[in-house]
Amino acid sequence: MAQVKGRPASKKAKSASTKSRKNSRPAKGGKATGNGSGKELRAEAVTVVYPVKEGDDVHALEKVSLSISPGDFVVALGASGCGKTTFLNLLAGFIKPTEGNVTLGGKPVLGPGADRGVVFQKHALLPWLKVLQNVTFGLKMQGIPQDKRRDMARKYIDLVGLKDFEQKNIYELSGGMQQRVGLARALTSDPAALLMDEPLGALDALTRDNMQELILDVWRETHKAIFFITHSVEEALFMATKLIVMSPRPGRITHEYELDFCHRFFECRDARKVKSMPDFIEMREEIITIIRGDELEGGNIHV
């Protein structure tokens, strides 16, 4: 059931009726299995206020609630300044909320940790390490012996298609391959949730399309809870099981949609076909209208 906060009620009806098709993913709600990676990541009414020396404090986030269960692919979309990245930083534990709390499997999140893997847009790999050492870095930090961590990493290296690149240097790889390393590295610690901050933002269009499919396949294989930030409406619609649209001043979730385009992709394996379906296009235009409205209000687009 899609819910909408603060914005026109018609959106609610529409998204609920036409967009929530049969969804094979587990229903959201307090479904923390508590063992291994099957934990729910949850933000409850989190508010983040940045103090400003002069004038009013900036409310980067205002009472935002969201829960991400294993198997959920939540995509956040929104105008610049809407607090997407702040929200991801909260989930990752890099910042703490001014109010509200973040929990993983019922336990409060008190800082960054290996149970929440983060994939960054760029500059996050360690260039002094080879691909394999980058992927096993987390396991090394956790004190797992070398042989064992190589065995554990191999599965994910194969999964993201880096098999023949284990001994390459990071700077010898293309942008797309580097992001595969980032993805494999985050997966190797077997986190409950994967937080991705515009992971494909720096890639060219074709590589980006390939990586979207790769990430979807990895997600289906590993059944992780994923929180994914993007600026591309098409990418958001294509990948999400749940799409949240955020608005600035104060940063909040204004629309939520349950989507199934990614499952249609799994059925037909044809991303172009899914992305040109009439309801995909209709949905895309609707979302673009919302975001454009926010950008215009904020003065980011000059007409």
Binding site: P112, G113, V118, H123, A124, L126, W128, M141, Q142, N169
Partner: protein, 291 residues
Amino acid sequence: MSDATHSGSSFFGRLGRLFSAGPAKPGDSFGAPGVGNSTTIAIASAIGIFFLWWVTTTPALGPMVKPLFLPSPAEVWDKFVSVATEGYQDQTLAEHTLASVQRIFIAFVLAALFGIPIGMAMATNRVFRGIFDPPIEFYRPLPPLGYLPLTIIWFGIGETQKLVLLFLAMFAPMVLNTRAGVRSVAIEQIHAAYSLGASRAQVLWHVILKGAMPEILTGMRIGIGFGWTTLVAAELVATERGLGAMIMSASEFLVTSVVIMGIVVIGIIAYSFDLLMRWVERRVVPWKGRV
């Protein structure tokens, strides 16, 4: 460039043409400053300088400059051979050189041993930054000759004083570059390490120190360069052996050929050290500038 500068035959017109560029050739980037190879010109320049030296000093050509001010290349070479084999002031060139290299090397190791950890501590901790910032920032711009008398008063005229002076010259650049290196580590790398379960100490060692390595090595390179520039000052007082001491004593006796020979030897050794450090850099931080 405007049309006026192109068409004009005035001095400024020609100057304009020298620095302006038409559309770039394939493979070149338009507007990139200083494109093109300068090796040939550099070699020509070096030969030119040497030729000028030779022309103005060689007796057969009727020396324009007195040997007291500038001895001929042949004279300097003869001096090089005689000092290398017989020595100057009871010490051969090798002994002078060894003494200087030893001092610089010891001071360099000490400066690295203190400078890099202190730079790391200052960059990562506000308490250390607060403590060390005033003294380092105060003494850093002072010329070593300025505090040389103080080091003599404090440490005497023995070997310690020389090492202290060289140490001080090398320490500041190493601290500053280490700090710059820590600042250059991408916050994403640090965040990534924490979210992979790394502890604070692990992030410091495995991410920040490694990420700062290119700048740390640059600091070591600059430091050792500062060491060579300070060498003569360090060996100014009561020194028997050392290239700086050799130059100073030769100047007192107006043996200009030894002075020039010493300067050239220091130049060659300092440049070789620099090449060595660059080689180390390529080996240790091959990723530098490529990420």
